[in-house]
């Protein structure tokens, strides 16, 4: 197999600018995608897809910084704007026009909250990006792992769904797998939060009788039924919360949590 694969050199904006080039799209990796061991695998899967279809992309690399989203949701508007204004300076200096990201929190913030501070870009979430690649036939969803008949349930991210009304793109991507898609009772606009939004990711929950991710995981497990299944997510925070929930319920042998980009990369035979 060794001879059939090539090493990827992920292009950075700094290199591109030095060569007088501009990418079609900037891949905004996000902090979870950069640092969280589990979500780094999603970042890598998404880059494998970008490389596979030959999109001209770049990343900011070490020039990227937190969008300020968790600070804003926690009420620290000052720190948020500090981050946003600095990031916008970097993005505008590179003349960035189009941004794709695998994090709905980064997506929402750059798309909806950066314009007020002078950052105007076309921002798309990787679920929409993948949906477009599939629709254009650039990703054929074949050559890799077969998902036919496998039970998959999609957990809506609040910042993709209710916050931005994107419900169908991730479902269309999953539909391309030809799997057995099952919906949780609370889905789309009625989806239940994983419990991590609003900066909850970075603190202990307030006193209550249950953790939100357990409530949601129980619903997902009940929907998948017995046997092997997949909980599909499209958000780094949901990924953490649902994975922890599955572990807590001791179901990690039979139920896996994957990001939609990982599933596509697997089906396309990119992650061997």
């Amino acid at each position: 197999m060794e001879e059939n694969k090539r090493l990827v050199k992920v292009p950075t904006m700094a290199e591109m600018a030095a060569n007088g080039e501009e990418p079609e799209v900037l891949f905004w990796v996000g902090c979870a995608g950069s640092f969280d061991d589990r979500y780094k695998r999603v970042t890598r899967a998404f880059v494998q897809i970008l490389e596979h279809v030959g999109v001209k992309y770049a990343v900011l690399g070490t020039e990227e910084s937190c969008t300020g989203e968790p600070a804003k949701r926690a009420g620290n508007e000052f720190l948020f704007q500090m981050q946003a204004i600095t990031n916008i300076e970097v993005l505008n200096a590179y003349n960035i026009k189009k941004i794709v990201t695998a994090c709905p929190h980064c997506f929402n913030t750059i798309k909806n909250e950066y314009p007020d501070l002078g950052g105007n870009y076309e921002v798309i979430h990787h679920s929409t990006f993948l949906q477009q690649l599939i629709n254009e036939g650039k990703v054929k969803v074949q050559g890799g792992e077969a998902f036919k008949g496998k039970r998959i349930t999609f957990h809506d991210s609040c910042y993709l769904g209710r916050a931005n009304d994107i419900y169908e793109a991730p479902r269309d991507v999953l539909a391309a797998l030809d799997a057995d898609l099952v919906e949780m009772k609370r889905s789309r606009a009625n989806g239940l939060c994983c419990g991590a939004g609003g900066a909850q990711m970075f603190k202990e929950p307030e006193p209550g009788n249950k953790d939100i991710n357990i409530e949601r995981t129980e619903e997902a497990l009940a929907t998948l039924g017995t046997g092997d299944g997949v909980i599909a997510t499209a958000c780094p925070f949901c990924m953490v919360m649902m994975s922890d929930g599955v572990k807590n319920k001791e179901q990690e042998e039979s139920v896996k949590v994957f990001d939609i980009a990982e599933l596509i990369a697997q089906a396309e035979g990119l992650s061997k």
Binding site: K5, G75, F78, C158, A196, M201, E206, I212
Partner: protein, 457 residues
Amino acid sequence: MIQLENIIFLIVAALGIGLFVWQIRKIRKNILIGRDVDRSDNPSERINKTLLVAFGQQKMFKRMLPAVLHLFVYVGFLVINIEVLEIMIDGIFGTHRVLGFLGPFYDGLMAVNEILAALVIVACVIFLWRRNVTKVPRLATGVEMRAWPKMDANVILITEIVLMFALFAFNIADLKLAALNNHTLPGTFPVSSSFVNIFGNDAGTLATIASVGWWIHIIGILAFMNYLPSSKHFHIIMAFPNVYFSKLWPKGKFTTNPAITHEIKAMLDPSYQPPAPEMDAEGNPIVQRFGAKDVEDLTWKQLMDSYTCTECGRCTSVCPANITGKLLSPRKIVMDTRDRMEEKGEHPAIFAPNHYKELGVERVKTTDEKTLLRGYITPEELWACTTCNACVESCPVNIDQLSTIMDLRRYLVLEESAAPASLNAMFTNIENNGAPWAFPSSDRFNWAEELYVPSKN
């Protein structure tokens, strides 16, 4: 012919309407305590939204049974008001069924009225049942569902039933009187005609019943109107402006404070000239708090939200924090805002805010501070929010509970530095290494190492 009765009616109606106007002015004054915010953009989109969500009850239909029952009461209210208009004219000019000249249209109107009135009674009885017997959790539980909100809901439902019975009594007696006198009453009365004989054959008694039924209905309506500003039932008016002025942009877009933007820009670039601050009437610069501590720090739209709340509890029933036993209840945030506004500003005729402290709800550890924050809403509630927008999505009258939660949080963080310690650690990480976790920013690109893709042939 104009008689003493008509003059009494005129006086009663004028008093009722006058009192109502006086109360509305108080409410308006309360709402205008709030900060200014511009919601005059995109009128056509706003009208569409009002038609769909307010007139069309669109969001009610997420839950079928209450939606259908509510539709009976809502349409009943709209249509029966045409008969109320007739009652008003009859009352002032001493006429009798003055709209009768409309002929077949009047027949249809009266028939629809009677059927709707019967459906209103059915719906209200079921609503009473759901509140008091089966005790639907979102209606019957929650720390904010104290004595007043519970009684308020029952008062409204019982009043509506009484009003409908008064209308039937009037129609039945009127119908029988007409039959006794051998003339035909204009209109068709599918319900009353089935009960036409229940009041007997005595013309005097029938005339009294018709008159009493008429008076109960009209005085009932005037009383009801004046009860509205003290009640969750005020939504029948406020739902329309509240939906019209609701947020049109994506739910994920939170407000940006321009004062902070100027501060940061001046910090980054010493030559930056921030615009001159707004001045008050005496020429002193208006210094606004960052975030909200009390009702005057919220916008008029957020205050309008709290007068629109129907206390239906849909928001709380879908709140992930509330579902898992946390203290946060979005409905409480909205009701607290109204109670505090009326404590601080004006309050309508009947309603006097009753506080948690009076009922001694142990879990909500409010303080004696006379502010919305802590005096009503505690940091524990605010920090439980995941900002998931489920409450906003669920509200049938487009209340934005989340914006109020966020503004209170902002005050805690920006003015008091009172965030939980773990969030302060997250802030420090972002400041120092550009990520919410303590990883060096030089490691940010390490994910790209040793990454392979299958090579194409």
